[in-house]
């Protein structure tokens, strides 16, 4: 009886999540569609000028017909949506290849960058939070607390340039052109992770601070547990929930940061392609990116939701019941 009830609850939960995911994707599609159509440029002119063709009214008309740009925005919206629902993301105007093919070419490079910067972000955050929590040295503590705002204030572009200046031009340990070496991955990943670790470590610092105020900490301390024992065994775990929420939201930051980092470090990746696609108003390509990013968001945040109960048993899956854990 209880198992059946739980099963039903899980299905309702899953259904709700899926419906939510679908509406997020539809929303992302709609907003990006409108945004692109509001841009004061037109993809055909761009394509013709880039390819050295005269702006011949005849050619323009033919191309518009071919790519369906002669139809009303309303009609384009639904035709494109219909295609997407059926797994057809269309063709990139600039390369003439299926959008998915263009994407899959560059995705691995960006995933490597994202993966490396995620690891670095976690390392940076962990070092900051641990130092802040455990040190007794006043100036060190103050310095560490000042890092997240500083990290968030440093422009990614600027940091990338400085890093190139030092590593590549002065010390010559980093090639300007990605050569597949560890350094050529670590440098841009570091730049990204500085940007990403700012919000994450800020939230973690606050959450760990909040953990110290919890009654259970007093109880454990009273039993004689050391500060570091409490920190590693309890406070971190207590704060991790909030950290993971932020981490889920950082997917967007990762991509926005990739546009800049990939340009500065001459890396080919999703960010670079996306930038070109927007500049060229390559509608199908931009839409596909937006949808994939939105899908990624949905998946990551769904995973985050599933992780909560594991970290804090007080959180239950059914959102109708109030949770007891005090999330800040």
């Amino acid at each position: 009886m209880k198992a059946a009830h739980q099963g039903r609850r899980a299905i309702v939960y899953l259904g709700r999540e899926l419906a939510q995911a679908a509406s997020v994707l539809l929303g992302a599609y709609t907003v990006s569609f409108v945004a692109i159509h509001l841009l004061p440029s037109d993809p055909i002119t761009n394509f013709l000028v880039d390819n050295g063709m005269a702006l011949d009214p005849d050619t323009i008309a033919k191309m518009k017909l071919y790519y369906g740009f002669d139809r009303s925005a309303y009609e384009q919206f639904f035709t494109q949506l219909w295609g997407i629902v059926h797994g057809n993301l269309g063709y990139a105007l600039s390369t003439g290849r299926p959008v998915l093919q263009d994407l899959s070419d560059v995705l691995p490079s960006t995933l490597r960058l994202a993966g490396a910067s995620l690891v670095l972000t976690l390392l940076l955050t962990f070092s900051i939070v641990t130092t802040a929590s455990l040190t007794n040295i006043k100036w060190l503590n103050r310095t560490v607390y000042a890092l997240p705002p500083l990290f968030s204030a440093i422009p990614t572009f600027w940091l990338g340039m400085v890093l190139l200046q030092v590593l590549s031009f002065r010390w010559r340990v980093l090639s300007l052109f990605p050569d597949g070496s560890w350094m050529s991955l670590l440098a841009p990943a570091f730049v990204l992770s500085v940007h990403l670790s700012a919000p994450l470590s800020q939230v973690m610092l606050k959450s760990v601070d909040a953990a110290w105020q919890q009654p259970f900490v007093n109880a454990i301390r009273a039993k004689g547990a050391s500060r570091s024992w409490v920190y590693f065994r309890h406070s971190l775990k207590y704060a991790a929930g909030n950290g993971i929420t932020v981490l889920g939201l950082l997917v967007g930051g990762l991509l926005a940061g990739a546009v800049v980092t990939e340009t500065v470090f001459s890396r080919l990746g999703v960010g670079r392609i996306l930038q070109d696609a927007v500049a060229n108003q390559d509608i199908a390509l931009v839409q596909a990116f937006v949808l994939i990013i939105a899908a990624l968001y949905v998946v990551v945040n769904f995973a985050v939701d599933l992780l909560y109960p594991l970290l804090d048993p007080r959180i239950v899956m059914d959102r109708d019941q109030p949770t007891e854990a005090g999330m800040i």
């Binding site: 050295g52 005269a54 090639s175």
Partner: protein
């Protein structure tokens, strides 16, 4: 994405001197060239298409020029047209028929022979386009009618109307010859570097999409242009083409030895690099227009000649070049580059005169508001300018001009370097100012007129002027130098002074920086000749 001075613009060029020139520089101090080495060339943008007709931008020409050869070659310095794949050529009296005798023994890198049939097939595809394959007409081939094969060694190109500039167009890399395997491909497929099979000194070896292209020397190459310094195969083993989008990083790449040659040095970095022992080459195409701000005269803000003239005399050209540019640039009041035939300057008429400029704007009814900005009929005199990213000088130059115009009560919105904006401005009169340097392969009709009555081609002024166009066409058929000069003087006075359709500002350069060990050569069109480039041992 980055300039295009518009495609035609990009590869323009005929007549004389490149500024610091070119071929001469590689033989300084009697050094003997050595074979071997890989040259890393970092450009402002990677070559995104290798399709010949689409290759009007400088960065694309930089690649094409190593892979294909042309019928004729224009000597840097003299501007003389000399034989290349043709062993001799002749032009008829009204510049409508061009006859070529082919050189013997030329082969494509796939082993096939270049014969009259292939020359014709190439010229037809360039001149007529191929709708089925999606290939447009080569912009420089306006008025192309047909190619006739006279015998096994001779062909004749016939134009529908006179064009004395056409012979120069045939020397451009975009008029190079490709093998059957390339010609048979569609527009999209020809765009890939592995598709381009030419007769040139280098052949495609490998590509990392959007990151690098590697060309390797062709060992049996022995047909450079007549009088070439290197009569045989290239000195370099390989060339690696890469891109560095950021200007500052390009300078750093050269300084740190990560690139042997970089294109697009910021004017402010030139002295620094030279002081550190690097070489700077400022290259100007031989037949081209100066960097001039062309005006969309039908735009209401600038439809009054007085306003346009005020803008022109409101620029202190000397101060501009001394302040934000470098010795690779020169102030000018002419439409054509100093070494182009038909050059005439209007120094007196365009002398800097802010008082007169202010008076003209007052007279035109533009009154200053509280912020000092001129207003008429509720509209501010607020002008946007479009320019591509291929020249490093345009942006700082326009920044400077904006400051000078602000003193006149005119606001300049500087969109130089924004290629998307540039593309969009091609046919939008909403953008009143545009810096654009179309090539002169159709004469001035290709710059300020409507070749073939095609209304979509004049992207400079977006304005039709039948009287001027008649003069442009007369120039195309005029082969007598004295008469040419008279005509061109008349035309330029109208464009620059009488009507003020355009504001010449400075003579631009395509700037290259190289390490001391690199001995580089350039053609008349600013493109490096890597066949005649070598690296001296460390």
């Amino acid at each position: 994405m980055t300039t295009k001075f518009g495609r035609r613009s990009a590869l323009a060029g005929m007549a004389t001197t490149a500024l610091m020139t070119a071929t001469g520089s590689s033989r300084a101090a009697g050094e003997t060239p050595v074979y071997g080495g890989t040259l890393i060339f970092a450009d402002v943008q990677l070559i995104y298409t290798w399709q010949l007709q689409a290759g009007g931008r400088y960065n694309i020409g930089n690649g094409l020029n190593q892979i294909v050869d042309c019928l004729v070659y224009q000597e840097p310095g003299t501007g003389k047209i000399v034989p290349w794949l043709a062993s001799s050529y002749a032009i008829n009296d009204d510049a409508t028929v061009f006859t070529f005798k082919l050189r013997d023994g030329v082969t494509f890198s796939d082993g096939t022979k270049l014969d009259v049939n292939w020359v014709k097939a190439n010229l037809d595809q360039a001149g007529l386009g191929d709708e089925q394959k999606g290939i447009p007409q080569n912009y420089d081939f306006q008025g192309y009618d047909r190619t006739e094969i006279l015998d096994d060694h001779t062909i004749r190109i016939v134009l529908k109307h006179p064009n004395r500039y056409f012979i120069v167009a045939l020397s451009y890399a975009t008029s190079g010859f490709v093998a059957q395997s390339t010609l048979d491909k569609s527009f999209k497929d020809q765009a890939r570097p592995q598709s381009i099979v030419g007769t040139g000194p280098f052949v495609f070896q490998s590509e990392v999409p959007k990151q690098e292209v590697v060309l390797v020397r062709r060992e049996d190459y022995r047909w450079p242009p007549q009088g070439a310094q290197n009569p045989g195969k290239a000195y370099l083993d390989k060339i690696v083409f890469r891109e560095i989008i950021e200007e500052g990083i390009r300078t750093g790449a050269l300084q740190s030895g990560q690139a042997d040659v970089v294109k697009g040095i910021q004017p402010s970095d030139e002295t620094l690099l030279e002081g550190q022992g690097f070489r700077i080459y400022g290259q100007r195409p031989l037949l081209n227009v100066t960097d001039q701000i062309s005006i969309r005269v039908d735009n209401k803000l600038v439809s009054d000649r007085n306003v346009r003239y005020a803008l022109s005399i409101g620029i202190n050209r000397r101060e501009l070049v001394d302040t934000v540019l470098s010795k690779s640039y020169a102030p000018t009041t002419a439409l054509l580059l100093k070494d182009s035939p038909g050059y005439v300057a209007f120094d007196k008429e365009l002398a800097y005169d802010p008082d007169k400029a202010n008076a003209l704007l007052d007279a035109a009814g533009w009154v200053r508001n509280a912020q000092g900005i001129r207003v008429k009929d509720g509209k501010q005199l607020c002008l946007s300018v479009a320019a591509s990213s291929q020249s490093s000088a345009v942006k700082p130059a326009m920044e400077f001009i904006g400051q000078q115009w602000r003193k006149l009560g005119v606001v300049l919105i500087n969109r130089a370097g924004d290629d998307t904006f540039m593309n969009q401005s091609s046919e939008s009169p909403e953008v009143p100012l545009r810096i654009f340097r179309p090539g002169l392969t159709s004469g001035l009709v290709g710059v300020f007129g409507y070749p073939n009555g095609n209304t979509s081609n004049n992207t400079t002024t977006l304005h039709s002027d039948p009287a001027l166009e008649a003069l442009f066409k007369e120039d195309l058929a005029t082969l007598d130098p004295a008469k040419q000069l008279q005509l061109l003087t008349d035309i330029q006075k109208k464009l620059i002074v009488d009507y003020v359709y355009t504001i010449p500002v400075y003579e631009a350069s395509q700037t290259y920086g190289t390490s001391k060990r690199v001995h580089i050569a350039f053609n008349s069109n600013t493109l490096p000749i890597f066949q005649n480039t070598w690296i001296s041992p460390a």
